[in-house]
């Protein structure tokens, strides 16, 4: 397994190679924070595969991610390579139906 150092290039590659990426505390199956649980729950409801990255897997992860994305808190949701926001925005856009549209557009080329 190649080493992962949370550089901007490496992070950029993750969100370019995966239509939907959730950076979160823990995993969708075992979230370690209520906000991450909420975001993972929302994204799971979209019914499309998504990538999740556990930021607790490496002590460098959270600061590297913040500096790269400019978004201070976890979780962070990316769709189609673009930062959507945290769990509050994910839920808001899901409730309005916009998240479903964003996900459908991003995954249509998969």
């Amino acid at each position: 397994m190649t080493e992962f150092n949370w550089t901007p290039n490496e992070l950029q590659k993750i969100v370019e190679e995966n239509s939907i990426v959730l950076f979160m505390k823990g995993t969708p199956e075992a979230p370690q924070c209520g906000f991450s649980n909420r975001a993972a729950s929302v994204v799971s409801q979209l019914g499309v595969p998504f990538a999740s990255v556990n930021v607790l897997s490496d002590p460098r992860a959270r600061n590297a991610l913040r500096d790269w994305s400019g978004f201070p808190t976890m979780p962070q949701l990316f769709i189609g390579g673009k930062l959507i926001g945290g769990s509050d925005i994910a839920l808001e856009l899901f409730q309005s139906g916009e998240l479903q549209t964003l996900a459908a557009n991003a995954t249509s080329n998969d």
Binding site: F35, R38, G86, D88
Partner: protein, 125 residues
Amino acid sequence: MIHFIDRLQICWPIIMAMAGADWVGSEIKKLVPGAIVEVSDLHGTGDHFHVRVISDSFDGMLPLERQRPILDFFMPHIKSGVVHALDLKCMTEEQAKAAGNTVFDPHGEGEKQFMGIHIRRPKEK
């Protein structure tokens, strides 16, 4: 130089005391002039906040655009650990009326917190 150090020592406790719901609210009011700002200190510990920011200036803006100036301001305070959680709801007045209670406690009790959508955790060993 000595004078500067004196001032620093005096300032420290004031800075520490400022981290709290009042401080969060007053800073956000500066960032979004004219907004109604409601801050809930979720645990009474002065570091987990749910914040409703209500302003018609948000009309027509994407959710992340609405949060951006607030997030940028709190970035260093989140990094330093002064603020641990910042759950933001940036709404227009109409949205606020329709939203009802939006408080969400990430470390709250049990599944009732999860607003109808929930992932089952694997049983703990």
